[in-house]
Amino acid sequence: MLTIRDLGAKVEEKQILNGIDLKVNAGEIHAIMGPNGSGKSTLASVLAGREDYEVTGGTVDFEGKDLLTLKPEERAREGIFMAFQYPVEIPGVSTINFMKTAINQIRNHRGQQPLDAVSFLSLMKEKMKLVGIDQSLLNRSLNEGFSGGEKKRNEIFQMAMLDPKLAILDETDSGLDIDALRIVANGVNKLRSKNNAIIVVTHYQRLLDYIVPDFVHVLYNGKIVKSGKKELALELEAKGYDWIKNEVAVL
């Protein structure tokens, strides 16, 4: 589904990614871990198409398309979704209105008729139940005054609504207490299928107790320096990142 080859990226003249290679197939969950400043969120942002990042080399193939040439909205329409680490507060735009606009633009892109009000509402009700989010929250201005947990839950709600092929969860666990973490992870697990894939970007192993990855990659200095199965995450949790840094230093 997704093939990243030798991807490099910089922001404001600072090189952050130094040759990332990663292959993600349908049905898989990949965890990307690593210490602060290793480039995890940059990778997520580059995949979603954030403009501040300049790609300096490499390729990203998504279902046969050159992802890097697409605008952010085109990537979303092709089936890429990023759950933001810091979801943006937008006063005056309700989540419902926002989702209606997004879904209909995506449908239009696919040559489908816009969803009528009844179908939209029933789709929304179904997904609300799935992630355990309240309608009153969705009537309010997008993320404005939401708690950390509500914001992240809203991200997963949007993911459920848009039904992406590839979801990238950028530090979705940050700022969540254990209950909120469980609710969010449950939502993600329910959305998992053999047709879609998920990349989980996280600092801590904690989230991976709930969203169990097939593969774990360690990112350090803008490169994937170690890959393994889910046990690698446990090892990192036990030993910290220093041994990885030492290992890299030896090489």
Partner: protein, 436 residues
């Protein structure tokens, strides 16, 4: 004096034109006003109040061409109405009150509407007591110009203890298809004690000749009365306008105003509220969505003369193209006006590198036990918010429109008149989608 030699001649020409004209009413007041006008002269570019608004220069060629009659063949006002709005409709065509096109549906015991000339002939006590009393023609040249030269006007009276259930729509239609139009016009409105009334003023121009609309509203809001006032400036042609709205509030009265400016060449709104009573509550909202070379200048004055009142002012602007916005907000709190709460905010979004906004809060507070605040911001659209919307599949143009609409829409939220609100939403939405 800041007048140039050309405007100097122009000022004399205007005064001469005044002396040649037979006016049907208010001769004494007019004489006094023209006397002040000759002393003041039209404001030049060194006049602080018109520093960013070169309207005098723009008007020179038009005003020197004289003040002839400008008849218009317009007989159908349907295109200018607000869809589905059941209202008392007062129509001015090229500054002339048109009784035939106007339609008053409220009963006479709730609402009196008269041509201002006729009301003066009938020796209305209210007209005698209030006309020219709120507007300051001793220091404001455009007010003096209007007070001396107003062609026609309307007198509106809502007696005491009356809830006027149908709003009043004042249509100002300018037909500049055949010639330039100069329309000094006047409105005097008195709302009696414990009464409530809503008025909407809507300006429309057809034709491409220039139009100078000089407009003065004087509105008295009686004790415990409520006024809802809305002004819609959406002129397709080349409109130059100096519109002064002066509102006088008595004890316990409430005023809500909304000023929407979308189009025109140079639009100057003078908005002056005298809070001359205790326990008054007022909200003043303004929105200007500008593009091309439109200049919109909102000068507001909130004058707290009595203690214990509350006012809140919020003006927002979105500017694109080469447009210019000016906001000048004065708040006066007189020594006697203790326990005043007065708030002011002006927020702007600039969409192009060539759009400009000048914003200036001006607070003068002589009382010591008051709560006052002001703030102004100007900036671009939030890039992070744009990216967030795009990352969900919404293209950039729609994402921008969504964000701008949310920014602008906040201003309409408090409005209670649902039909009017819907109409305003629709013209704002149309503008935001078109200009992007």
């Amino acid at each position: 004096m800041s007048s140039t030699s050309t405007t100097h001649d122009l000022n004399r020409e205007i005064a001469d034109a005044f002396r040649r004209t037979e006016f049907p009413s208010s001769r004494e007041l007019r004489e006094e006003a023209i006397h002040h006008f000759e002393k003041l002269g039209l404001p030049g570019n060194k006049n602080e109040e018109y520093r960013f608004t070169p309207i005098t220069r723009a008007l020179e060629p038009m005003l020197s061409a004289g003040f002839g009659e400008t008849p218009s063949p317009i007989t159908d006002i349907t295109p200018y109405l607000i869809p589905g709005y059941e209202c008392n409709c007062i129509v001015f065509v090229n500054g002339q009150y048109n009784e035939k096109l106007s339609r008053i549906i409220s009963p006479e015991n709730q609402l009196t509407v008269r041509s201002l000339h006729r009301a003066s002939e009938e020796k209305s006590v209210l007209v005698r007591d209030y006309l020219g009393k709120l507007v300051d023609f001793k220091t404001d040249a455009f007010a003096a110009f209007n007070t001396a030269l107003w062609k026609d006007g309307v007198f509106i009276h809502v007696p005491a203890n009356t809830i006027l259930d149908k709003p009043i729509l004042v249509l100002h239609v300018h037909d500049a298809n055949h010639q330039p139009v100069i329309s000094p016009t006047r409105l005097l409105m008195i709302i009696g004690e414990r009464s409530e009334a809503s008025i909407v003023e809507k300006f429309d121009t057809i034709g491409m000749h220039p139009v100078f609309s000089s407009w003065v509203d004087e509105i008295v809001v009686g004790e415990k009365a409520t006024l809802n006032y809305c002004k819609i400036q959406n002129d397709a042609g080349s409109l130059y306008q100096v519109a002064s709205t002066l509102i006088h509030q008595h004890d316990g009265s409430k005023v809500n105003t909304f000023t929407l400016t979308l189009r025109g060449k140079i639009i100057r709104n003078n908005f002056t509220i005298a809070v001359d009573g205790e326990r008054c509550e007022s909200h003043f909202y303004g929105l200007y969505l500008l593009d091309k070379d439109t200049l919109a200048d909102n000068h507001t004055t909130v004058d707290h003369r009595q203690p214990n009142s509350f006012t809140n002012e919020l003006y927002k602007g979105i500017m694109n193209g080469n447009s210019r916005g000016v906001f000048n907000g004065k708040i006066y709190v007189r020594p006697h006006a203790q326990k005043t709460n007065a708030f002011q905010s002006n927020r702007n979004i600039l969409l192009s590198d060539t759009a400009v906004v000048h914003t200036k809060p001006q607070l003068e507070i002589w009382a010591d036990d008051v709560k006052c605040s002001h703030g102004c911001t100007s900036g671009q659209l939030d890039e992070e918010a744009l990216f967030y919307l795009q990352s969900r599949g919404i293209d950039k143009a729609n994402a921008q429109a969504l964000l701008l609409y949310a920014f602008a829409g906040e201003i309409l939220e408090p409005m209670k008149d649902e039909i009017l609100k819907k109409y305003l939403h629709s013209i704002i939405s149309e503008r935001l989608h078109k200009s992007l």
